[in-house]
């Protein structure tokens, strides 16, 4: 019984990379291309800027992947990002200050997520339509908080988060560590279990409903934090800025191999997917693609990222 402590954990972690090699290679290729086209990204400032642009997308992709792993999905990611941004931009320069703003934003995200989760879990309604209805409600609230772009985030806070230093990258590392810790809790593993085999998980003693609510709440938290970062990055709030993020978050997660029916995929894959989407934009710029080609190339890369590994593995099997 000489099981080295932690060796099980390491093996488990290693097997989670299965099936992601193709995506990792594609992302690596894009990053190499980016570096060779624009060596400046290797400077501290360049690196900081690139990760700042990636960070909000990474957060929302994680938020979406979290739900999809649990067998849900959210169509209110975009409006919730906006809500986070406008709350930050309206409170942080007021009496609550930055800490108060952060707390308020976080509580909002957890609360909104928990409400959605409760509706989905207790009334057994499909998440896709609950969050679709929710997107109108959340978007409406964002418009009430700030009817048009404005508000202010203190400059020092903006500089701290989205200035010359790779704070965004460090925050991302922090979030990843947080995810790792969460995934090492019974609830975290229960999240997978409830997504893949809800009945089995229930019979094994996992509180499926509670896990679902937790998943929605955490997803809401990640989403509003993306909004908070966007507010810091832009120094202000915009009640509709998040709109495109809903589809982007789904694209990132699915590119990363996260399945729709729950329990399939990994967070590392989702992160790689979001990095692919973010890096693609810069690479296409430096290659001088005109807009038409940008659209076409984007579509092709997305399809290829999913199809090529699949075709290769089929080739191997045959």
């Amino acid at each position: 019984m000489s099981v080295a402590r932690g060796s099980l954990y390491r093996t488990v972690q290693r097997t989670r990379n299965r099936g992601l090699t193709g995506l990792y290679l594609l992302v690596a290729a894009l990053l190499v291309a980016y570096v060779s086209l624009f060596p400046g990204v290797l400077s501290l400032a360049g690196f900081s800027r690139f990760t700042q642009n990636w960070f909000p997308l990474a957060l929302v992709t994680m938020a979406q992947a979290l739900l999809m792993l649990n067998g849900g999905i959210s169509l209110s990611i975009g409006p919730l990002v906006s809500l986070g941004a406008v709350i930050a931009a309206t409170t942080m320069s007021g009496p609550l200050g930055v800490p108060g703003g952060i707390v308020l934003v976080a509580v909002t995200g957890l609360g909104v997520g928990a409400v959605f989760g409760t509706i989905v879990a207790l009334f057994r309604l499909p998440a896709i339509i609950v969050t679709l209805a929710g997107s109108f409600i959340v978007g409406g609230v964002a418009l009430l908080v700030l009817p048009k772009p404005g508000g202010m985030v203190p400059a020092w806070f903006s500089d701290a988060l989205a200035g010359q230093y790779p704070t965004a990258f460090l925050l991302l590392l922090l979030v990843i560590v947080g995810w790792k810790v969460f995934m090492a809790t019974p609830t975290g593993l229960g999240l997978y279990a409830a997504g893949d085999n809800p009945l089995g998980a229930f019979r094994s003693g996992v509180r499926v409903e509670r896990v679902r609510i937790v998943a929605f709440a955490l997803s809401g938290l990640l989403t509003v934090l993306a909004g908070l970062f966007v507010a810091a990055q832009t120094g202000s709030g915009d009640p509709v800025i998040g709109a495109p993020m809903t589809l982007n978050s789904i694209a990132g997660a699915v590119l990363g191999g996260v399945g729709f029916l729950g329990g399939r995929g990994t967070m590392r894959g989702a992160l790689a997917g979001s990095l692919l989407l973010a890096a693609m934009i810069n690479v296409m710029f430096f290659l001088g693609f005109p807009p038409v080609a940008q659209y076409v190339a984007q579509g092709l890369i997305i399809v290829a990222a999913v199809a090529v590994p699949e075709l290769l593995s089929r080739r191997q099997r045959a």
Binding site: G139, G140, A142, L143, P147
Partner: protein, 315 residues
């Protein structure tokens, strides 16, 4: 008796959606000025027709376990291409319609082929397709587009044979065909089986890949039809004209009681689902409130309808 009614409704959730529509119409008709007039209801039906027709394709796709995120883009492309593809010397205008529908169907075939043979998850395949189509629009939009002069399309958008808008009649035809295909043909039975259990379906000898190509081509075709109808109603296609119909089509399907996971559902629910959506939008429009509040009201209304109709049975 009472109980059998309840179980019947539970077995056919679409009945509930229908009842909801009726209730909303009756209540609104008595309380809101102008709502209950025949002209208004006819107009609501006309608007619902567009959603209903795209949602017909979406229903088929969702029942078979997929999803089509390119329908909005296909509608836009059809509405913009039709005037370009209509030869000026064709007095019927049917040639242009045929060409446009062929392209829309072709897009669907590509979606289906990608999903079936490249094994790209439908959501990604159709999302990528929507991106492609945006690229196509940049080339086409704002080019030499001319106002729609295609007589068939104009007729479709404005004529009222038998007192019903032509679009509604088209919708009735599409509905009949969809319901027939879904419930009366081997194809429909296979779709449901594929949606519920693709592995078992394949091992039972169903041509899953071929079905998926047909399915997405049907969805593309119907999105094309909806795009043309929308063009006829607006007389003008523009970039983004189809965008609102993507989420509407999915919402109509789900409100109609079709399981978003596939394998179970009927177009008979999507029809009242589409009407419900249009009605909600119309109700919200006449309320004088700030945009934020309107949005909140619309979302809450959908959520309330959803709670009332309480779908996805307990395990």
């Amino acid at each position: 008796m009472n109980r059998s009614l309840v179980t019947r409704v539970a077995a056919h959730p679409w009945v509930l959606t229908l009842v909801l529509v009726a209730l909303v119409w009756i209540v609104a008709g008595f309380t809101l000025r102008g709502f209950g007039s025949w002209g208004h209801l006819r107009y609501l039906l006309e608007l619902s027709a567009v959603i209903g027709i795209v949602a017909a394709g979406q229903t088929l796709v969702v029942i078979a376990g997929g999803i089509d995120l390119s329908v909005g883009a296909v509608m836009t492309v059809s509405a913009i291409l039709l005037p370009l593809l209509s030869p000026a010397d064709d007095p019927t205008g049917l040639a242009g319609i045929g060409a446009t529908l062929a392209i829309a169907t072709g897009i669907g075939i590509l979606n289906g082929a990608g999903a079936a043979y490249l094994r790209v998850p439908p959501i990604i395949m159709t999302l990528a397709m929507a991106t492609f189509l945006q690229g196509l629009l940049i080339i086409v939009a704002g080019g030499s587009a001319v106002s729609v002069s295609n007589p068939a399309v104009i007729w479709l958008g404005s004529a009222r044979p038998l007192g019903l808008p032509a679009g509604v009649i088209l919708w009735i035809l599409v509905s009949a065909a969809t319901l027939y295909a879904l419930h009366r043909t081997p194809f429909g039975a296979r779709l449901m089986a594929i949606g519920a259990n693709p592995i078992a379906s394949r091992l039972s000898g169903l041509a899953v890949d071929r079905a998926s190509v047909r399915l997405y081509s049907a969805s593309g075709f119907l999105a094309g039809v909806a795009g043309i109808l929308l063009l006829g109603m607006n007389r003008q296609g523009y970039a983004g004209i189809g965008d609102p119909y993507l989420l509407s089509s999915i919402a109509a399907v789900v409100l109609g009681g079709t399981s978003i996971l596939g394998g179970r559902g009927t177009y008979a629910g999507t029809v009242p689902g589409a009407i419900l959506l249009v009605t909600s939008t119309a109700l919200i429009t006449v309320v004088n409130a700030s945009p934020g509040w309107r949005s909140i009201m619309f979302g809450s209304l959908i959520l309330a309808l959803l709670l009332v109709s309480g779908r996805e049975a307990r395990r």
